[in-house]
């Protein structure tokens, strides 16, 4: 078996989320070092507050301030903090019921060791130095052995309330393409295009994905195709893509390589964009060290008859 191909793959996105009125008040409050809860119809105070009652689904709007001090209701000791978590040294995950609240908030507790943590212990909010209106405006909790802190009597009305958050998220993967695509990529590195034939319907798939989507069976017989092929259809790209150093307009085309039953797509170069047409015969152009063709260019052969590629459109 050839070596398994692997490559790093990062999926990263800044999620922009708008806030409902209760969430907005809560997160704006954190920015102003005020903790707000919301009252339910049966007079329970939920912290963190939600827009709708978790039991009755009724809309909730009655904001009420609670104290930045509270009691640990359960905890877990995190020996090895991970990326993105509130503290970089070992800490306790805690659910904290703040004084004045009936429910608990999840956060981190900074403590010297797990012997210093127990259910029922008193803690208080440690505020982040820079606050933007986010749950991370609470840097963490810390041990506290005083009376419940005084509330400021805040109404929950703020100037300049936050209306949204931007939550950055990044996940890192090690991508491996599987058996069929690995074989395809290995062959490409030798400048050969190798597809796979379905044992049932005999179609040759390029690039192969390991299964015939029509028959639902594994493809395995390797078939070298091309290098020449026929443009089956195309479009003209007029908008420059970010990080792509190609002058617009250019042509992006579906190309049925000779011997393949599925068209792959690639850029057409080597001729004016407005002269590319269906049936145009093309061949790959390789650049030094590349693992795949840079683009396809005209071969100069006569155009293919429509009937020879109409099934591949």
């Amino acid at each position: 078996m050839p070596e398994v191909l692997k490559a790093p793959l990062a999926v990263e996105f800044p999620f922009t989320r708008s806030l409902g009125p209760v969430q907005s008040a809560f997160l704006t409050g954190l920015r102003e070092r005020v903790v707000l809860g919301v009252k339910t119809v049966d007079s329970r105070t939920l912290v963190p507050p939600v827009e709708y009652d978790p039991v009755t689904a009724e809309e909730l709007r009655d904001l009420v301030e609670v104290a930045p001090t509270g009691t640990v209701t359960t905890w877990a000791w995190n020996h090895h903090p991970r990326r993105g978590q509130p503290l970089g040294t070992p800490f306790a995950w805690v659910l904290v019921r703040l004084d004045g609240a009936d429910t608990a908030l999840l956060h981190a507790l900074d403590a010297p060791g797990q012997d210093a943590v127990h259910t029922g212990m008193r803690v208080r909010v440690r505020w982040a130095e820079e606050r933007t209106g986010a749950i991370t405006d609470i840097a963490c909790f810390e041990p506290y052995d005083g009376e419940p802190a005084q509330r400021t009597g805040h109404t929950g009305e703020f100037e300049d309330a936050v209306t949204g958050i931007v939550a950055a998220a990044r996940l890192d993967y090690t991508y491996s393409p599987g058996r069929a695509q690995s074989a395809y990529l290995h062959a490409l590195s030798g400048r050969r295009t190798v597809g796979e034939r379905c044992p049932s319907c005999r179609k040759v798939y390029v690039p192969p994905r390991g299964a015939c989507p029509t028959c639902g069976v594994a493809t395995s017989e390797q078939v070298e195709v091309g290098p020449r092929g026929t443009v089956t259809t195309f479009c003209i790209v007029n908008i420059k893509a970010k990080n792509l150093d190609i002058e617009v307009p250019y042509v992006y085309a579906h190309i049925a390589l000779d011997g393949a039953d599925l068209a792959l797509h690639a850029r057409i170069g080597g001729m004016p964009y407005d002269q590319v047409r269906m049936g145009l015969r093309v061949e790959p152009v390789w650049t030094e060290g590349a693992r795949f063709p840079d683009h396809y260019r005209p071969t100069g052969e006569p155009d293919a008859e429509y009937d020879t590629y109409k099934e591949l459109l």
Binding site: M1, V4, K6, L9, V11, R17, L19, Q23, L46, V47, P48, V50, P54, V55, T73, T74, W75, A76, W77, N78, H79, R82, G84, Q85, W93, L95, R97, T103, A104, L105, L106, H107, A108, T119, A134, I135, T136, I165, A167, A169, L171, D172, Y173, T174, Y175, S176, P177, G178, R179, A180, S182, R209, G210, A211, C212, P213, T214, C215, G216, V217
Partner: protein, 356 residues
């Protein structure tokens, strides 16, 4: 109220050998042998299936629309009647069961797969949490389960010794399960997020599973002893962890009630408890700790502590329970699946075989 319920059964089940990594295979390459296996058990061809439903999550392997690629393994041309859920395949089975109940299909293929090896599954699962108040803190799946375990210990409902015994019992049972990833007892291991130790946590791995459902006489024709679905229900908890009583699972209890689980005793329970402490919660919610329930075989397959291909592990519980009925080793079994942090959502099925 009386209701005429169409008889529907699980008639076949297949799964991969679950492994730490399947890096040499794409998702469809991992899944396809399981699809062929489950169809071969019934003699059906893909084109004979009335409805196809799958469960998976693109986040696990970081491959957008991977479920459409996986469909390549089904043979979806000419176009088939098909659906997908972005959660455990047990919920795909629920959708297929409803489809069969409507009479719109006679048979259904349900499959699920999870390829967690390309990513860091503890981190990936943080992305399913409340995006405003919780996800920005990146609390991983083990940390949340550990908060639940501590709450159970504080309440006197379990202790670390019992948790270790659950792990040992599960993995010892898995020695007889050729598909399991951890086969045979493992040491409790080091604390991972205390009070949970590595032994309290599921193995991380890749795998797939599939079942075929059939209605009435079709089921009798396809299978010597169909596993009849007598009841199936799923329920959800409030999403905020701090609102819930983490030592209890009212959603599991309600789903079990609605599925008829308490009407007659079961002899087998396949519980989807990825963490040892969650089995304690489930046994209480399902009344499996009450006098008289001592005879119930809990997780004879080894459960999720022996193999936990995320998105398939719940469907596997239903498949394992059904396979036990088909083999004549059970007459009435309960199967449970969960999704989300700390048993957020729960599904309960009651399966029965005809008198032997």
């Amino acid at each position: 109220m009386t209701r005429e319920i169409r008889e529907i059964a699980v008639v076949a089940f297949a799964q991969t050998g679950h492994r730490r990594t399947s890096e040499e295979l794409s998702e469809v390459e991992m899944l396809m042998p399981v699809l062929h296996d489950v169809l071969a058990r019934t003699g059906l061809k893909a084109g004979d299936i009335g409805f196809t439903c799958s469960g998976s999550s693109d986040y696990l392997a970081g491959r957008a629309f991977s479920f459409t690629m996986a469909l390549d393994g089904v043979g979806a041309w000419p176009p088939i009647s098909e659906s997908h859920v972005e959660t455990d395949g047990a919920w795909a089975l629920y959708e297929a069961w409803v489809k069969l109940l409507t009479g719109e299909a006679e048979t259904a293929l349900v499959y699920a797969y999870g390829k967690t090896s390309p990513g860091d599954v503890r981190e990936v699962l943080t992305r399913q949490l409340d995006p405003y108040y919780v996800a920005p803190l990146w609390p991983d799946s083990v940390a949340l389960a550990a908060l639940q375990a501590r709450a159970l210990i504080d309440a006197g409902l379990t202790d670390e010794r019992e948790l270790a015994a659950i792990a040992a019992r599960s993995r010892t049972a898995a020695a007889a399960n050729p598909h399991a990833q951890l086969r045979g007892a493992t040491p409790p291991g080091d604390p991972l997020v205390a009070p949970l130790r590595t032994g309290d946590c599921p193995p991380i791995g890749d795998g797939a599973a599939a079942v075929v459902l059939a209605a009435g006489d079709t089921a009798r024709r396809l299978c010597d002893r169909p596993a009849w679905i007598r009841g199936l229900d799923h329920r959800i908890e409030a999403h905020s962890l701090g609102v819930r009583d983490l030592t209890d699972s009212p959603s599991t209890r309600l789903a079990a009630e609605r599925a008829g689980a308490f009407e007659l005793p079961v002899d087998t329970a396949e519980l989807h408890a990825p963490f040892t402490s969650q089995e304690v919660v489930l046994r209480r919610a399902l009344k499996l700790d009450l006098p008289g329930a001592e005879e119930v075989r809990i997780n004879p397959s080894g459960g999720a502590l022996a193999a936990n291909p995320v998105m398939a592990a719940g469907l596997i519980r239903l498949g394992e329970a059904a396979a036990r009925i088909q083999r004549g080793e059970s007459d009435r079994a309960l199967a449970h699946a969960t999704s989300g942090p700390c048993l957020q959502q729960n599904l309960v099925a009651v399966l029965e075989g005809d008198a032997q």
